[in-house]
Symmetry: C2
Subunit: 710 residues, 2 copies
């Protein structure tokens, strides 16, 4: 076991994947339904348990430094908080008597890097737990696993006996937070770094500039924040504090300065860098905007050399992200000087002009000792091979780059701002099954990053857009590909989500706060019911159906609503259980009836509340919709349980009504509509049960209820 820390990651990975074939994946744990997330590369539960009592202590063997000591301290405090037990202070002197021994070989990288060895092993017997790692970061990862193993029963808290060997599948596992569109205070970043560490993410991608705000102090160019930030920015001291905080947790900080587009906020203070004369104002809208740096202006490169040099010194990571996305070049098209430059230098189009810009940028970055990273758009065949591509286009674009020898990081599929359910992100894979890459090519696929774009998040809501879904992405990037059981993921996600709260995360608790506020402090049970079964509209529809600016309050019902409704998922499961129980229709029938009755009755109460709460006025149609789907569901349920089928007029009218309910209102939608369609169709299809098997009938209902493809 001990050797695991020393072999190279690649070797380990292939060996581990073999082990997984035997023990990992769905159903891999023989002894217990654990709550590990991400699932380790190899887990083998044994009989026995290590009691966690008030004499719980940790000893360290081998390398010990301040980072390890602080990490152990934090873990112990969390264990105390969960168990309500007070443990002895400090590291135990005697390793033999300690409940947990941390055995670390060395400090690992001084500055966290993509080469860091994060592997560890954890052996828990009924006597002791031993955590072994080659580096402190490996030990930190193992401590998180240890905390997730905690269980309890009538005899107290314990860690089940287990043998774990763990190593990440990908070495780049990131979370991008866009602080350009909405500034996020340091406390928000810190608690999210804690949460990242809890699920073993290792890259904080700090998207620091946008059309809507420039967020990092430059001592050389003070007008960047002076005029481009509304006063909302990070000082260099604060940035150093964040970098140190991340590093303490084995997390790299990759800064992004998005150019040449997305740069309005730069130009407010320095209009001379733009491709149109200006003046410029901080952008308040959402979307793609025209302002772009002028790639034909030598002053731009002088500026970038000085600015990026300053940032290269501030941010120790080997990579610096220059964005490069979504520049449509409209300012370039209209600028005669730029057009003349292009003719003169035979630059055939805007894309080529941006490549020229990137080439210049690359030299600057290399001079300052940084590797360049950028979005898909920067990928041009003549780029040097040490540039890293971040793909919002998808795994195939990533594979193409890998085949040509470029490192890449996948973000397509991990756009958490699009409000898709965790299941969808969970199944997006940087190296999907059936990938035709050779192992050497595959090694260029470094991993992935969840992207928290900041148009519609405030400090109050941002956690609920990141968590818990990002934990599912973290598992995708750490665990073997074969770990992909969605139901099991959701089961564990619910537990991890609550554990994240101990780090101060607000994703669970702030919805109640926002609903109380919207209800003016009144009793709001009906509002909670509504909020539990709606989700914000997906993709970029929110801005279409409910336009706002970056200065608008993010305190509406759409902001309180969360992605990936638990209630909707539970209801779908119950409806499936009911319909699979044909022709009895008893399974979950009582639960479904209670739920539907709750929806039906909440409607009128909601309308009364809305009468006194104008902030909810936009939700008025949803109150009627909620009652409506409750009633439709109850009708269908009654047909089913009585075994009496309705006519096609009933079915058509109800499906049409559901169609109306399905239209977004207040930028919200009901994810339970498909389940209700199934109930309606099932009621109508009752007679078919006489001529077919229940299983075939169930399939038929599912097919008929599926909405027609548009």
């Amino acid at each position: 076991m001990k050797a695991i820390g020393y072999v190279s990651i690649l070797l380990l990975l292939s060996c581990v994947l073999k082990v997984c074939a035997q023990t990992a994946g769905p159903g891999m744990q023989p002894a217990t339904r654990h709550h590990l997330m991400p699932v380790p590369a190899s887990v083998r539960f044994n009989p026995g348990r290590l009691a966690v009592t008030k004499s719980f202590s940790v000893a360290a063997r081998g390398h010990v430094d301040e980072r390890l000591r602080a990490g152990v301290e934090r873990a112990v405090r969390r264990l105390e908080g969960r168990t309500v037990l007070e443990f002895p202070q400090g590291l135990a002197g005697d390793a033999n008597g300690a409940a947990l021994v941390v055995e670390c070989k060395g400090p690992g990288q001084t500055v966290p890097s993509v080469e860091e060895d994060e592997s560890y092993s954890l052996d828990v017997s009924d006597k002791q737990a031993v955590l072994r790692a080659a580096t402190v970061v490996g030990a930190l990862r193992g401590l998180e696993t240890f905390l997730q193993l905690l269980e309890g029963d009538r005899d107290g808290y314990f860690i089940p006996a287990v043998q774990i060997q763990d190593v990440p599948r990908f070495r780049w596992r990131g979370l991008l937070i866009d602080v350009g569109r909405h500034y996020e205070p340091l406390a928000v970043l810190k608690r999210n770094l804690d949460a990242m560490a809890a699920v073993k993410l290792n890259v904080f991608h700090w998207h620091l500039s946008e059309d809507q705000g420039f967020r990092i102090e430059s001592k050389k160019f003070p007008k960047l924040t002076g005029l481009g930030s509304d006063g909302l920015f990070y000082t260099q001291d604060e940035a150093r504090a964040i970098i140190a905080y991340a590093s303490e947790r084995g997390i790299r900080v990759v800064p992004e300065f998005d150019i040449p587009g997305h740069s309005t906020s730069w130009l407010v203070g320095y209009p001379e860098l733009g491709s149109a004369p200006g003046p410029y104002k901080i952008e308040r809208g959402a979307g793609i905007f025209e302002p772009a740096l002028d790639p034909t202006n030598e002053e731009v490169y002088k500026f970038l050399d000085a600015f990026l040099g300053e940032m290269a010194a501030l941010f120790p990571d080997a990579y610096l992200h220059i964005g490069g996305d979504e520049n449509e070049g409209k300012q370039w098209d209209r600028n005669p000087k730029i057009q003349a430059f292009m003719r003169e230098h035979a630059v055939k189009d805007n894309r080529a002009l941006q490549t020229y810009f990137n080439q210049r940028l690359l030299k600057i970055l290399n001079r300052h000792g940084k590797r360049m990273m950028g979005w898909d758009e920067i990928f041009q065949p003549d780029l040097p091979k040490d540039v890293v591509i971040q793909s919002w286009r998808g795994p195939s674009s990533l594979a193409e780059a890998a085949k040509r020898g470029y490192d890449g990081v996948l973000s397509a599929g991990y756009y958490i701002d699009l409000i898709y359910p965790a299941s969808q992100h969970y199944l997006a894979d940087p190296l999907p099954e059936g990938s035709t890459l050779t192992p050497a090519e595959a090694a260029h696929v470094l991993g992935g990053e969840a992207t928290m774009w900041g148009e519609w998040v405030s400090p109050e809501t941002i956690d609920s857009r990141i968590w818990p879904r990002t934990a599912a992405i973290a598992e995708r990037l750490w665990s073997p590909r074969t770990v992909n059981d969605v139901d099991d993921m959701y089961r564990r996600l619910a537990v991890v989500s609550v554990q994240l709260e101990e780090l101060g995360l607000t994703h669970e608790k702030n919805q109640a706060v926002m609903l109380r506020r919207l209800a003016g402090g009144e009793d709001n049970g009906a509002l909670r019911t509504l909020a539990s079964v709606v989700e914000p509209v997906k993709e970029y529809r929110r801005y279409e159906v409910r336009p706002q600016t970056m200065l608008s309050p993010l305190t509406g019902l759409v902001d309180a609503a969360r992605p990936d409704s638990d209630a909707a998922r539970r209801f779908a499961g119950e409806v499936d259980g009911l319909l699979s129980d044909a022709p009895r229709f008893e399974t979950y029938s009582r639960d479904i009836q209670d739920t539907l009755t709750g929806w039906r009755d909440a409607g009128p109460q909601l309308e009364a509340l809305i009468d006194r709460s104008p902030g909810l006025a936009e939700a008025r149609p949803l109150a009627g919709d909620l009652s409506r789907i409750g009633t439709i569901g109850l009708e269908a349920l009654s047909y089913l349980t009585k075994g009496v089928a309705p006519g096609n007029e009933w079915r058509d009218a109800r499906l049409a009504a559901l169609e109306e309910v399905a239209k977004p209102k207040a930028a919200l939608e009901f994810p339970v509509i498909p389940s209700l369609r199934e109930l309606v169709v099932a009621a109508y299809e009752l007679p078919q049960l006489k001529t077919t098997t229940p299983a075939d009938w169930r399939k038929r209902v599912k097919q008929l209820a599926a909405p027609a493809k548009k």
Copy 2:
């Protein structure tokens, strides 16, 4: 109206009290049930309303400075958050078109002081609201009132037309936070300063040193925090940030350094100042401890001169609090050198020795330009008259001091750490009705302070110990004495409590977090039911029944439970309604039955949950108790509604059972027991209804159900 800002506070106070006699007090608002807290000195609602729409803007007339501008900005952001409307940015240029005009005469005190004029007037018509104040602080107070006036209906948000003239009854309205026993991060202090400002408190009493921790950086004596703080302290820069944050909100910061007792943490680094040789360790227990500075050692005064000089320069307030409480002098008794000094100087006892110490201290403080403040114990007839007494003993001790010409601040009655209900604090008055003080003497009663002693609070729980109860104390200290309707206070408190959440306060939301954690993320409805009807034990019983140290996790059920259970108060009201409806017993009968059934059924679910959650093991007896009181209540209710009386055996057995339930378990108790006793007694007393009036019967039940005085 405009003149109100210019007359002196004393004149205003007497004038206002006359106005109040006409319009304030319970039932004073003719047009609406407002949510103002504290209730202004004079409020007169008029017909009409000022609509709050997305064109809402604020203009300023007269004095404008950065503090006012920032205060308006914060208020406008909160109004946007509540209304989900985006308003125009910045101050409006045209006062005529603005919805709110702020008319401020001048900046007021540069350093907030006890002399600050906080009065304001607010006139709202259907055209415009005009807020007038002599100082910026007065304007800030008025802005909070304006925010509390917001209402909504089908036509949208609005401010009702109203004329308000307001001035505080007392000029010292404080909140003490003890950061010595448990350190509280800056974010905790800041959000509590925001909450203080929201309810017009104006003194943050920062209790900075205790046996258990020394929390402020001294550059002259670095070992104070170096050895006495576990690394948990405020740097001087951080202290300045807090002072500035408070000053921005019109709040003074009074630092306290508690000496000569309560000083263990000083002596860890500087044992030579102590009255016993040491060595000393940071105290981890709760209680009164022996370590005390040596008042006979000249080095102590040199140290204090240097240290207090440093602190006097750091804290701009005119007052500096030297504690002085609970020094029992045991170390003095045992120190031969001190005993010799006392004989030599004819110091007759320890109290006299402490007076000697205080006299020396006073000279030091005066030399550094500070007025001395201390707890009751420092009050000695030979103290100079500019010393301020803070009384934990009560209004009569305060009155005695006032008669002798000493300023005083009441804290007796406002010890929020004792977990009493808001109603109790609300009725404690620094100048109670029937006070025999002359007006000149009464003017020495400066006000009061709520005290958040820190034995059992963490950053996660402290807000729930302070809020919302402290808002009721804030009202006592600001509003006319005649504003004292407890039911109406609770009605308004519920609204204010939710409004405080918009400032980031966690008093409402963290209970759910802690219960989820205790339940390991499992469904925990039964646990929520239990938590809603228990309260932590009162006074200092917690430590007796459930001893912990300052290093123990504060994550148990007692920490999740909140003072002043809403559910218990509601239940008491319903039971009163039911019993006052004799002999029908219909009023609230259904609600009470639902509640009792919920309690009865929660018990077994709780036991199952506890089986899997050892952190809740201590709560196991409470699960049985909860079922028991549910069952007892249901039995009583059944007798009452059927009109059939039980025998005395039933009554005695049920009262005995309730006696057992009333005993604290896990440091928790059921505040609903008195209501259940009433139900049991009422059932037994049913036959008496034939021979007496329902009203007399109700009284009789109340008397018989009251527990015997011990």
